[in-house]
Amino acid sequence: MNLDKILLYCDNLTLEAMEFALNLAAKLSAKIFTIYVIDPKFIAQKVKLENKDKEKIKDEIEDFAWKVLYEIEDRAALLDVKTSLLLLEGKPSRILREIAEGYEISLLIIPRFSRLNLERFLAQNKERAVIIF
């Protein structure tokens, strides 16, 4: 199996998982697609919980998302790992599947604390390797 394109999903990503993904990409000389998905459901939940304006919440999430993406990119550059950053909005499981298909991703790395339903996600993504870290 040629693992030349790795998709790293940034949702409750730990520092250890980030290091694991980047080191693996460096070892395999793989390109890493780093993706953050802004989930409208999550925004709605936060609006209810925090009693804040929807746009304000979205703005905060976007701020955090770019920060995570650029931190990973900065670290990747030190390891000479090729990267692409993606910030998208929608249902995470659907977007991950579409991106994985569109960019012919060979390996997905999913944080173990991600809000995805991992059991369902794995059942729907049998055609490519998945690491839960």
Binding site: E62, K67, Y70, D74, A77, K82, T83, S84
Partner: protein, 151 residues
């Protein structure tokens, strides 16, 4: 915290980029920093920014490119904005040419502010009205007004 408008005033604005391709565009934008003596070693800076460019596509789609690097050759955190009517191929994921190009240069040790600046520019340019306005501006003052209004 750093303000984008101050970084742009310190860096510069080129409303009609002459360059037709990526490396030339980066050189044209970096040229502003060399002229202003904000870079101590042009060759080192080019190497750093082109290395970064080879590792990733800084064309982030929607007609935007953000070439960037932290380098010991940079004296202070600055931003240079360039606009290309024709567009420059920055190997964007959406395969569209980049018309709005922001070059971000930072000293090695100012990582947090550098990332903060990248975040700010990325967020700013996701707004449709900002991109439309920047594509229409007629002078540098209008660019600064757009940035000031959204900051």
């Amino acid at each position: 915290m750093v303000r984008l408008i101050d970084l742009l005033k310190k860096g510069g604005i080129i409303l009609e980029l002459k360059a037709k391709e990526k490396v030339e565009a980066i050189k044209e934008l970096a040229g502003v920093l060399i002229e202003k003596e904000l870079i101590t070693d042009a060759q080192t800076f080019f190497q750093e920014i082109l290395k970064r460019e080879n590792l990733e596509s800084t064309g982030i789609g929607m007609g935007i490119a953000l070439p960037h690097a932290r380098s010991p050759a940079v004296k202070e955190l600055v931003v240079v904005f360039g606009r290309s009517e024709e567009g420059v191929d920055f190997s964007s994921l959406d395969q569209k040419p980049s018309h709005l190009i922001f070059l971000i240069a930072a000293p090695e040790e100012r990582k947090d502010e550098y990332i903060y600046t990248l975040v700010k520019i990325s967020k700013l340019l996701r707004k449709d009205d900002v991109r439309i306005a920047l594509n229409k501006v007629k002078n540098e003052e209008e660019v600064l007004t757009i940035v000031r209004d959204y900051e």
